[in-house]
Point group: C2
Chain length 168, copies 2
């Protein structure tokens, strides 16, 4: 997909906000993945970051934490939203995007981990890949220092386990 210049500028700015959330998580001793939800008229309506360490949570991935912080909205609200996440969304977070019918997901990077992008595309969600070196470096450093925390977060036994749904 190609972006208009305006979209590209908005995407970079909003991704930077998601990166800010990831850095906040890192400062708290958490996994550095961040997310913001942006409504076409209301702008940024919520922010979140991974809370596995901070809350001992298995469901507060960055995207889920962001949606929870946005709070209860009517279904029509999500149709006008774009989700920005620093890392390719996993099967759970991809499922949340589909449940609420969010039409566009902007992804910082998918080199570290590729989630269920195919399932999103198959269901009509538009994906924009920002190929952010900043997002990539942040995850690379974290995983080198905390491999077990990372594998726990993606439900993988270790770096050798082959799983169809988490990597393509």
């Amino acid at each position: 997909t190609s972006m208009s210049l305006t979209n590209a500028t908005v995407h970079l700015k909003c991704l930077q906000e998601a990166i800010g959330e990831a850095r906040k998580s890192l400062d708290e001793g958490g996994i550095p993945i961040g997310c913001v939800l942006v409504h076409s008229v209301e702008g940024i309506v919520g922010r979140g970051h991974n809370q596995r360490i901070q809350l001992g949570s298995v469901i507060h991935h960055a995207e889920m934490n962001c949606l929870e912080n946005v709070g209860r909205k009517p279904a029509s609200f999500y149709r006008d939203c774009t989700l920005y996440t620093t890392l390719s969304p996993c099967a759970m977070c991809s499922g949340a995007v589909l449940l609420y019918g969010i039409p566009v997901v902007v992804i910082g990077e998918n080199k570290t981990f590729q989630g269920d992008e195919q399932h999103l595309k198959n269901n009509g969600v538009a994906l924009e890949h920002m190929k952010s070196k900043e997002c990539e470096d942040m995850m690379k450093r974290f995983i080198e220092t905390n491999p077990q925390l990372w594998y726990e977060d993606i439900g993988q036994v270790d770096n050798k386990e082959k799983r169809t749904q988490s990597r393509t």
Copy 2:
């Protein structure tokens, strides 16, 4: 898929526990969907129910609430678990099953709503359908009285909206 007699008995007992969770939610004024996670050696390791009303949550569906109540576990733990849910799991909850690699999901009913069962099957998850009239009646009564709450919970504008991922 066919069940051995033993499996069938276990499934009925564990589904009854999930139904108990759904009734608890109903008593709290919430959406009557319940869930338990059962480990092959440890037995029931967690319970949960939908918390949209109770917590104002958009991520605490019964299955997610149950996984959160189980708490942080190593990836290998989930490989020995079966998830029991009173209603066919939506795209988000199906994604959580895939993220954590839960191999079996036992479903109370899927007449009221069919979630992303195809995606689960495509990724090797075994599904058992209990076709519970009790589960069905509970949801039917709830939706008749609270249609808007229900559509909000499944991210649907109304009963006329066609969405590929939530109904098949």
